[in-house]
């Protein structure tokens, strides 16, 4: 691209010929105030705050939408510009409540700052202000129409980035209102970006409402712990409480998701266990660190080869994982992190960063709901689509992405994998419920350059099929893992035969002592009864975690660990990059990282615990997969998946975030609904192997008959009892 020279307030800079005056000014270091301009949204020219004088142009020009010309001379420091800026601010404040003392945006508000720098001290308007009532949209966001400056950044985010959502501007001009049309609750997984793009206090987070002032917070850069995207987050702490999260660095994407932004308050939760506990009779009592450490060390010392096992959360950091692996080696025990029953390990894809996804020509997502497992990846896929890529989603469950792309089919839960295998073998007609247009689009996709994304549900056998077909066709492939650091745990060697195998061995008495770190197995492992039997049979159980969850109920010792906010570990992201966290606060109580506990225990046992983690050079070779494709038969087959608002780590202790999903839902087909005589919102009963559960029916268009999807992750709602090692199982469906 050609470069041109522009002079702004006497400073000459060279910028690409398609740059705007505003961008050139940024390069020249000249401040041009703006509201509606946003670096990652298309220019809109709505607010007129950026008007500047351009030599040769009779009128002032909006800098954010005016393209530069070679030799252009721009002035921002003239009396004319000064006056117009004062005028715009005066108009913006015409009806603005100016309730800065109680406004959560104060201190980081564009309107406040611009008024301070460029406004007049007084206003000529004396009329009464027209104000609007506050509107809450569900537990996460609140909208103050009175403070809205109608820059439409929020609406543009919804149209340009989410490709449409239930959020828009209605009516016109001075009567314009911003908000949701269909409901009084906005729940699209990405609402935090509305808060972040809003330059004023019109859209704010309910978690932060009236909590503290931004200038009292100290921010530390960290990395999200809810998925492998590893979004950069800034943690705002005051008096050792985590109050607010901001996303200030566009890494890996300018956008984040509601998990990263809202699911953090568990860090301050009053139920956090901050002292070591030991079982005495039927009670857990608090004990000294030294006593806990020496008792655990004494116990572990006495077990022989293969008698101790460690089960870890896939979201522990690399250093913790390395420590557990080295401890496991020292006691000749087993270790595994695949707490969701995965039978696969991380595969190295041939996609090296998010730009590779965004520049793909065609993307096909199979075997998972990426918007739940890797939310920001879904936005990158949409970005690819908006740049011209064809996108398809073929999955047994999908809420966000499917309805926004070119090809979408909800597959029957029981035969999802065989159908995808058939498609990979070239049989496009195997995929049910496609329009002719979709079918031919899918054919084109498969015959050209393609990026295949394997979701977290895809079994090792399906991964093997995807892998070998992609190699053969020269496609790109990306394999998603559960947790935020599966690649790190793999790198640290924290795996063996799978968590199912460990639990079976515990149940059979072969493994006698179990250490579970950072996870409640009842919430994650797809066989609740096996977890129960194993925990009951374990001779010795140590749980390391933040909360006394269902797994902890069985423990002999409970060791409090630090949350991600208090720890400076690193994680390996989807693209195998190491991302380091900085501790944002002091460890609460006597909590400490897993590796520190293990170092103490190791020391007491005379074993060396090494917490140096390295990223693995190569990933797992899926062609080693021995298992069969997952296929489940039955009149009604259920896929169990964590609802988005219950899929974050420690969601049960993230009060507002988890509240968005009020009750567990069952997605059922229109045919099944008719046959059962239920309609949307009615109660249905799902019964199976280990119990009977009540759900709110959601009748979904495109949902195949005889196939249902039910929500997991709700408190005191152990749906994993329905499962037998995989997330799909035959069930019975009735009207409640």
């Amino acid at each position: 691209m050609g470069m041109v020279k522009v002079t702004i307030d006497g400073i000459t800079v060279e910028v690409p010929e398609n740059a705007t005056i505003l961008q050139a000014a940024m390069k020249a270091g000249v401040d041009i105030p703006y509201f509606c301009y946003h670096p990652y949204l298309k220019p809109a020219g709505l607010c007129r705050m950026c008007l500047v004088e351009v030599e040769g142009m009779p009128k002032l020009a909006p800098a954010c939408v005016t393209q530069v010309r070679d030799g252009m001379v721009v002035r921002t420091n003239t009396e004319r510009v000064k006056k117009v800026r004062e005028g715009i601010v005066e108009f913006q404040l015409l009806h603005h409540p100016l309730d800065c003392p109680i406004c959560d945006q104060a201190g980081e508000c564009y309107l406040q700052d611009i008024t301070f720098r460029y406004g007049r001290a007084t206003s000529r308007f004396v009329d009464e202000k027209e104000l609007y009532p506050t509107k809450f949209y569900g537990p996460l966001i609140v909208h103050e129409q009175s403070r809205c400056i109608l820059c439409k950044r929020c609406v543009r985010f919804c149209t340009e980035v989410l490709n449409g959502a239930d959020w828009n501007v209605y009516w016109r001009a001075a009567h314009s209102l911003i908000g949701s049309y269909e409901s009084d609750k906005v729940a699209n997984y990405f609402t935090c970006n509305l808060v972040e793009v809003c330059p004023v206090g019109a859209i704010t987070s309910r978690l932060y409402r009236y909590k503290t002032r931004i200038w009292k917070l100290e921010f530390t850069r960290s990395v999200c712990e809810h998925c492998e995207m590893g979004c950069s987050l800034d943690l705002g702490v005051r008096e050792n409480q985590l109050f607010k999260i901001k996303h200030r660095m566009a890494d890996p994407s300018p956008w984040i998701c509601d998990k990263g932004y809202y699911a953090f308050d568990y860090v301050n939760h009053a139920e956090r266990i901050l002292y070591p506990l030991a079982r005495q009779e039927n009670k857990m009592v608090s004990v000294e660190v030294e006593d806990a450490v020496s008792s655990i060390a004494d116990k572990l010392k006495n077990y022989g080869e293969g008698e101790v096992a460690f089960i870890l959360s896939p979201s522990l950091c690399l250093e913790d994982a390395a420590a557990v692996s080295s401890m496991a080696k020292a006691v000749k025990g087993l270790v595994d992190y695949r707490v969701y029953g995965e039978d696969y390990l991380p595969v190295k894809g041939n996609v090296s960063d998010i730009e590779d996804v965004e520049s793909a020509k065609a993307v096909l997502v199979v075997g998972g709901d990426v918007a739940v497992s890797h939310p920001v990846l879904a936005l990158s896929i949409l970005k690819a689509k908006n740049a011209g890529a064809k996108v398809g989603v073929l999955s047994a469950h999908d809420i966000f992405l499917g309805e926004r792309v070119d090809v979408f089919s909800l597959l029957p839960a029981g035969s999802e994998e065989p159908l995808i295998k058939e498609l990979l073998d070239g049989n496009v007609d195997a995929i049910p419920d496609l329009s002719d247009e979709e079918r031919s689009c899918l054919k084109d996709m498969l015959s050209g350059e393609l990026l295949l994304v394997a979701g977290v549900r895809a079994s090792s056998a399906l991964r093997a099929a995807i892998y070998s077909r992609s190699k053969e066709k020269g496609w790109k492939y990306l394999f998603l893992d559960r947790g935020c650091n599966a690649k790190g745990l793999y790198s640290a060697g924290a795996y063996s035969e799978g968590v199912g195998e460990i639990l079976n061995r515990v149940k059979e008495g072969k493994v006698k002592a179990l250490v579970v770190a950072g996870v409640d197995l009842f919430n994650t492992y797809p066989n609740g009864s096996l977890v129960k039997e194993a925990l009951e049979s374990a001779e010795f159980l140590v749980v390391m975690d933040l909360f006394f969850h269902d797994t902890a109920m069985y423990s002999d010792f409970f060791l409090p660990i630090t949350s991600f906010a208090e720890d400076g570990g690193s994680v390996v992201d989807l693209f195998w990059r190491v991302r380091r966290r900085n501790p944002a606060m002091q460890p609460k109580g006597l909590s400490r990282p897993v590796r520190d506990w293990l170092a103490l225990i190791g020391e007491a046992m005379g074993a060396d615990v090494d917490s140096q983690g390295q990223v693995a050079e190569t990933g797992w070779d899926p062609l080693q997969a021995k298992a069969e494709l997952l296929e489940v038969k039955g009149n009604t087959v259920a896929l169990v998946e964590h609802a988005f608002y219950r899929s974050a780590r420690y969601a049960s202790w993230c009060s507002r975030f988890s509240e968005v999903a009020e009750s567990p839902c069952a997605y059922i087909s229109e045919d099944d609904a008719k046959a059962l005589g239920v309609s949307d919102g009615d109660k249905v009963l799902v019964s199976g192997k280990g119990g009977k559960f009540e759900f709110v029916a959601k009748v979904r268009e495109g949902q195949p008959k005889g196939s249902i999807v039910i929500d997991a992750g709700f408190d005191r709602f152990p749906v994993t009892l329905l499962l037998n090692g995989s997330w799909v199982a035959p069930v019975e469906l009735r009207k409640a």
Partner: protein
């Protein structure tokens, strides 16, 4: 996924018209305004059901369709009577007695501005300049103009509407 659109939501004639409108543009969104008109012409107004139906047709979020529909005052977003009386109260008409006209109609029909008669026949609203200032005061009933209004003329017009 094969989208299932309930064709019966509109008459066959309207459905055909919509199909025609949507086939005219390379980007079918361009037909949105005209389709909104087509549906309103048949139903008299665009309620939430209609907005959602049109949204599905265009594969757009209902919020976006509502955003467009609410931008233009020509779209009725709530149920209106068979006859929508729109009296201009902008400057030229006001100077020429528009306020009397409004009061007269209110009294005659027994409703206030913004209301509909109980029999569902008339809805009365006021609007800004209808572009008929030269023949003020002016009003529109559905798509017809009535100008140089007097209370007597209004009586005759309203009485003639069945």
């Amino acid at each position: 996924m094969r989208a299932v659109i309930d064709k019966e939501f509109v008459s066959e004639a309207t459905w055909n018209k919509i199909q025609d409108l949507m086939s005219r543009y390379p980007d079918r969104r361009s037909a949105l305004l005209q389709v909104l008109h087509a549906v309103q012409d048949e139903k008299g107004y665009l309620d939430m059901e209609a907005i959602k139906w049109i949204a599905k047709l265009f594969k757009l979020p209902p919020a976006e369709v509502y955003s467009v529909a609410s931008f233009y005052t020509m779209f009725n977003l709530k149920k209106v009577g068979k006859y929508l009386i729109q009296v201009c109260t902008n400057i030229s008409c006001m100077i020429n007695g528009a306020e009397d006209i409004v009061r007269h109609i209110e009294k005659k029909l027994g409703i206030k501005v913004g209301e509909t008669t109980p029999d569902g026949k008339f809805t009365l609203i006021t609007v800004e300049c209808l572009g008929s200032c030269g023949k003020a005061p002016a009003m529109m009933i559905n798509k017809d103009y009535y100008e140089n209004l007097t209370p007597e003329k209004v009586d005759a017009i309203l009485d003639s509407l069945k």
